[in-house]
Symmetry: C2
DNA sequence: CCGCATGTTTGCAGTGTCTGCACGTTTCTG
DNA sequence: CAGAAACGTGCAGACACTGCAAACATGCGG
């Protein structure tokens, strides 16, 4: 399972850079942290930093573009008999459980990102890539097209809306709330067509 | 109505910079346009560029942060008897009509933004500011809270999802489709709880 | 255990973004 | 028609990011 030494070292360096960036920004704020600082704390040269992340912001967010397709794959793996919303909802719950299982990194990530609009934008970019992949899978499953029909893109966009909202409420609860439950609650509201509350 | 000369000049300069940025990026691509180029075409010094836009990307997108609160204000102005979804939907249709009324700028903007992921992120930032303002108004109207309840943030996020999807389909139709109709169609799907199509 | 092929790290030089500061010019107010 | 306030501009400098070429580490066949 453990690939060669080379591969393990690369993963370690990547994680070291991400954690260094995250901690430094949490301490001093985004604009008071330079790439040189991050590289120094991670123990590599400044030039090496850019072998791992294309921008400073990406290192702070620390999400692989590869992860963007994960949700879409999970949806594709679900039984074709399920309606799209059901499949997406189930896949999302799995994903929420994964996130909640990492109680060190994710809360810090969310706090730091929330405090800096520039990072929020970067995170949105990852979400959008994920959305596109999801829309494609939904189109497949529902026999629609991503470019002309509203359904796939809309379902993917709403999925992202539910996830973002849940993550934000998780943050607001200081990570005491149960993330999957927040996701579920969001989907219940959507499934009901967003009726006025306390009605 | 026309404010003083000073104010009019500022608006003109701002627009000139935005249009210069938009055209140049459409011609050459984002990375082959420098701030100096944009300033030169707009007829101001490079230093002045930064008196109007904090970054190059912002000049291309060209949206005032002030506009972020417009939708929220429009919702606040609607009769309190309307359910939140109805009020938001109506305000959004007005906004879509406004956008469709600018058949020069918006299509070019959308094409250019769509072609450059970095700009998409910038546009997302504007949407998010708008979302926050909208969530606050929805919370007011529905007697809920933005930090603990799911409803306001979720409605705001779904609104953004509907708008983004509609804009993207408008682009995909080469701007031949009717934007307000696309918005309507999106809301119909959401109101029905996103049922599987062709059902 | 050696040495070559390949992938990784690093330094260096250069371009471009963006900021603070100081100064001259234009618009506004009375 | 002043004096105040706002605006435009040049300059110097910090920082982000890239291409290139030279060290360096690792994996692999002998």
């Amino acid at each position: 399972m453990t690939a060669g030494l080379r591969e393990r070292k690369k993963q370690a360096t990547r994680l070291a850079l991400h954690e260094a960036a995250l901690q430094l920004v949490a301490e001093r704020g985004l604009e008071h942290v330079s790439v040189d600082d991050v590289a120094a704390r991670a123990g590599v040269s400044p030039r090496t930093f850019f072998n791992y992340f294309p921008t400073k912001d990406d290192a702070v967010v620390g999400l692989d573009p590869r992860q963007a397709g994960e949700l879409a794959e999970a949806v594709r793996a679900r039984p074709a008999s399920e309606p799209p919303v059901t499949a997406v909802r189930a896949a999302m719950l799995d994903q929420a459980r994964e996130v909640a299982r990492e109680p060190q990194l994710w809360p810090l990530r969310l706090q730091v990102v929330d405090a800096h609009p520039a990072l929020t934008a970067r995170l949105s970019a990852v979400f959008e890539a994920s959305e596109r992949a999801l829309a494609a899978v939904v189109a497949e499953r529902s026999g629609t097209r991503t470019d002309t029909d509203a359904y796939p893109a809309l379902l993917a966009a709403v999925q992202a809306a539910v996830m973002r909202t849940a993550l934000h409420r998780w943050l607001a609860s200081d990570f005491t709330a149960d993330l999957p439950a927040l996701v579920d609650e969001g989907w219940d509201l959507v499934a009901a067509g967003l009726p006025a509350p306390t009605a």
